[in-house]
Symmetry: D2
Subunit: 368 residues, 4 copies
């Protein structure tokens, strides 16, 4: 009830603060006998890891994951999987100034109002550092998805930084790992580099739009009426730090369409399965997957930590100014890509188990 | 786990199909001793009621709410509040054609894939008729909000139909109830009338954008990290039939801002409370309310039920065509306004109780 | 969170008061395409129905169940199953006296302290009338169990009334429906008749012990560590009105055993499955079913509504006396049998779906 | 959904196996600004710690708790409190024999059937080692209780070992910490010592009955109909390893009473609060606390790990014998006392927050 848990059947709980001794996650509901080891998780953590180039924060964390439970001789046991990452590169004195001041755009003021206390060091619990544990949970979720629905691919991309969108005609997934922006359009990379260098040098920051696709998922995933697949994705994505908007398929653009334009017509495919002639719906109808690509887009606001001095108030109700020091991403949307992929994986793994519980008509038996 | 429940502490469960004997809702977690009667709920149902003008479906339902439990001598007792509305104007034979065909843009195909069976009459459980029960729950939620935080105003508006946005400079909440579109801009009304008449006469439909505000809410509502106020709102709104995108505050527009532009600066107000100099955040920071207006926007796709014939497939994997008959809203976004308001109310009522459980430092005692 | 819901995946929510217009239940999580009609449920309600002999309350309720949703053409659709029973034989004026007085042994005082208000008519929400809806949910649960694990038999018996236990040597399940006590021992029936007639005529009441068995369940059901099958059964049974104790297998008697006596030794059966040489465990080890008979016992306190005048207090803090009028069961444990069977069925149906979600290794696919 | 979480508003999740690197718990829902440090928790862990005398297992664990999150400068922050204890005295080779054999009375067989895999070292997840984390959570729960309801005392006692009950007339809480049995009756101590030495030397084990009291709790705690205070206590206690029965108040004895005997009569006390003339109900009516002492009793079966050779089966369906080695408690009920106290504390803390959310009429406001 305190908001640190995500998911219903495949679910996880995170804990830990930015500058505490460690951050951790307990992943539960995982089917037994899936192969799992630390390197299965580390590979995803490494994609999100800070300090890898000048467009992310210079905090250096190994982000080495340690599995404490739930895995025996390389296989999941069905017991909860506890994992922790020790915090190592902690410079808490960077944060002395914000002890009493509220940074505009940050959660300082709201945590203070809610709890009457806050661990101000690095933003404490509100820090994006928490998202490392989402990525760890997402790595386990991918195992669950693979086990039940082989052939699913989940991947995300930055599609816009500041006012500069990529060109969708040049979209090539293979480019994603060849640039520091998770951009599928190599031609936009220098534009973004120049733009972001400018913002960074000015002590400012930039927003971004991220798009995540899931390909190869079966039709039938989702749980109307409230736990629609798209509603759960909206919650998952909006829960990521700095996200301010979420769209499925055509999203806000669908308001402009006519009923005929919006209808994704269907034709019977060679195997009796439908071929959809378009995908305005983004792979979801009535809250349930159609089997088409699941397409989700989200907007990240610019990083609130900026070097420019802005006006604010302190805990004692006095006017003051603040300049945020510390080490920050000039554009949090970039490292948002592996986080958004992880959230997509967690939502899908959860809905696979939910579907299995209620609707799967094939088979029920003991594990042996 | 089957998705028919919404909320954690203030929560409700709906049941019923479009053309079944009745639809119903059980609202639970309601504080005792709040005054509540059927007319408190009916007034909101009447705002959503179909058949009130030519821009909504011509199905005529009295939508008379009947309270079955949880209220004694005009006061809530703390027990669950069961309510039903009988379905009266049911023309199921309109739906014979869709028994075996999948209407593009509808949930026919996905329900079939998920459940292997569907109540095709009027869309069954996937019908927007379910939203009447959200409105009923929302009416109770408003009582809970009023009880704990007097002075909260929740209200929504259509801000765009098809390609026609209203002019925000002309925004006047008093106009909302004077036109069939919940428009706060009287000047756009004739534009929308003409546009929608055109679509309606062409057997087509239109999308819309709806914005909902909550004024007067206290700072401190919300539950990081996953159950952020904005994440719960995103889920709530995305769960409404036909919604394809949700934004908080500047939403997708925030991707265009610089860090300085995005920072809502603060000044100490005369009473020590902050005065924010802008509200790009839409009233939420770190998932917790700031006390500013909570601003949520959502996109409705055009009604999928259209008279134009479109290509589709049937249950037997054969190609076919379909023309949707039955009675439908040419623009579902319009009647989406009271539904979105209700969802906002439910999210807020829930988070008020959640905050009270964990963080309210004042008082705990028995009810007497 | 308000305690009106039971179960995790197979789950239901009840509403309604003893003397309100109706009582109802929403059963959710039910697999699609199970055959279900009102008579499937009515048959169980009739076993619990009051007024059938002199050993139960003389209130006469038809207890006719009406299915409002979730069933289409005789099959479940996967949507929530809403059901109601109208209250017809309501004599609320019997309860005027208790409006201000707290009946000892009843929930009058505690509801007053918790809620500051109570629907005193017939006990309102605290009445055992609510258990009719448990029986309705249990009937649906049996369908779920049959679908996934054919051959499961759930049945209960009264094994003791007041100080008179039955003779386990004479146990014959066939006797259960041949006497008004659900007794499997015909020889104890006249003893109980005489004993209970005496209590009834004296305006007093009696306690009872009920035992419920589930035969034929598979090994592997249950979810350690907290949602053990036995822990969930303990909660389910203790939640029945008037139950004060719950045992699994040897229960309190197991405290007397030595480790060797308590160990249920195993031998390999002809089919490789184990044959247990005893069942002290009552069919559960480590919170998970062994495949042996699941054996649960529970104690019902004597009905608190008695004609004898007892000392109490009123709402105004004044001493007073009270004599409970109204129509009551002289021994609530008797009608507790179908209720306890229903709770057993609900727990098992829930754990079957839970097991299926996480552990069933066979098959996952769409419903078609 | 996988059973590793307990509680609704005050809730916690445990992870870890007997012979894994560590066991841990995440406690969530805790009000902010409560003082909390490791020694607040350690004191309770020390009461449960193994190896303290010859009547408990000789495994030697420091059970040193480490708080990883949720506490800042000695105060809770409202964020989840992650805690771990490293396992240090692990002798896994003791368990080689049980790798393929099922120990009667243990969860070996059922885990195998459920999961198709099991961490057999020391029982893995099914080990009573998990209860250390319950004790840690319970220590936090006590802080929550103290904060909201000062003056509550929760304490437990062993009241019977094997066939030897204590004499309730000699009950003295002060004796509890003066003997290795948590016995409030000093005269029974030598009887239990002799009895248990006999069992221990014979390689056997003994069962026990434990009773836990909560004094000073307010009236009004509990959430009818399913989440009754007594139902939640029954689940909590039955979820403790080796517990086979749970009673509230007179429990099974109440079946023997007449309605008059069972009715706890009330008199108005000097302050207008009721004085109950007896407490057959054990402090709960209708699932809600009366304000009297809450009295719960539970039966522990004898430790299943015994040196006597018993007949069993192996994973390959072959008959075999087994003699359990390893280090074990001759009577697990003894160390069950601090565990049962902890579960009582967790249930009460949870219901305090639940009551506060729905029913507390006094006050709602921000934390500042």
């Amino acid at each position: 009830m305190s908001g640190n848990r995500f998911g219903a059947l495949f679910h996880y709980t995170t804990f830990g603060e930015s500058h505490g001794p460690a951050i951790g996650v307990v992943v539960d509901g995982v089917p037994p006998r899936l192969s799992l080891c630390e390197s299965d998780i580390q590979v995803y953590l490494d994609r999100r890891k800070p300090g890898q180039n000048r467009f992310t924060t210079q905090r250096r964390e190994a982000d080495s994951i340690r599995i404490l439970s739930g895995v025996f001789e390389g296989l999941t046991t069905g017991a909860p999987i506890g994992m922790i990452v020790e915090n190592t590169d902690v410079k808490s004195k960077d944060y002395d100034e914000i002890k009493d001041k509220f940074r505009p755009g940050h959660a300082d003021f709201t945590y203070e109002k809610k709890y009457g206390i806050r661990d101000y060091r690095g933003g404490g619990r509100s820090s994006a550092r928490e998202t490392a544990m989402r990525v760890a949970a997402g790595a386990v979720a991918r195992k669950v998805i693979d086990y039940h629905c082989s052939g699913v691919t989940i991947r995300g991309a930055v599609i816009q930084i500041g006012p500069h969108p990529l060109d969708r005609e040049r979209w090539d997934w293979a480019e994603i790992d060849r640039n520091p922006f998770f951009s599928p359009d190599s031609a936009i990379v220098p534009v973004w580099e120049e733009f972001l260098d400018g913002r960074r040098k000015a002590g400012s920051s930039a927003g971004a739009i991220v798009e995540v696709h899931a390909q190869g998922i079966p039709a039938g995933l989702g749980a109307p009426v409230y736990d629609r697949l798209d509603a759960d994705l909206a919650k998952a994505m909006m829960s990521i730090n700095a996200v301010k908007g979420v769209e499925i398929g055509d999203g806000f653009g669908s308001a402009l369409l006519s009923g005929e334009e919006n209808a994704d017509e269907m034709r019977a495919g060679p195997d009796g399965r439908p071929v959809f002639l378009s995908n305005h719906a983004g792979g979801v109808l009535g809250g349930i997957s159609t089997g088409q690509d699941l397409v989700v887009r989200m907007a990240f606001k610019p990083t609130s930590s900026i070097l420019t001095t802005v006006r604010t108030m302190d805990r004692h109700g006095q006017n003051t100014d603040i300049t945020t020091r510390g080490r920050h991403d000039p554009c949090v949307g970039i490292r948002g890509v592996p986080v958004a992929e992880a959230m997509m994986a967690c939502v899908l793994a959860d809905h696979i188990l939910r579907h299995k519980a209620q609707c799967s008509l094939k088979g029920f038996g003991d594990a042996s």
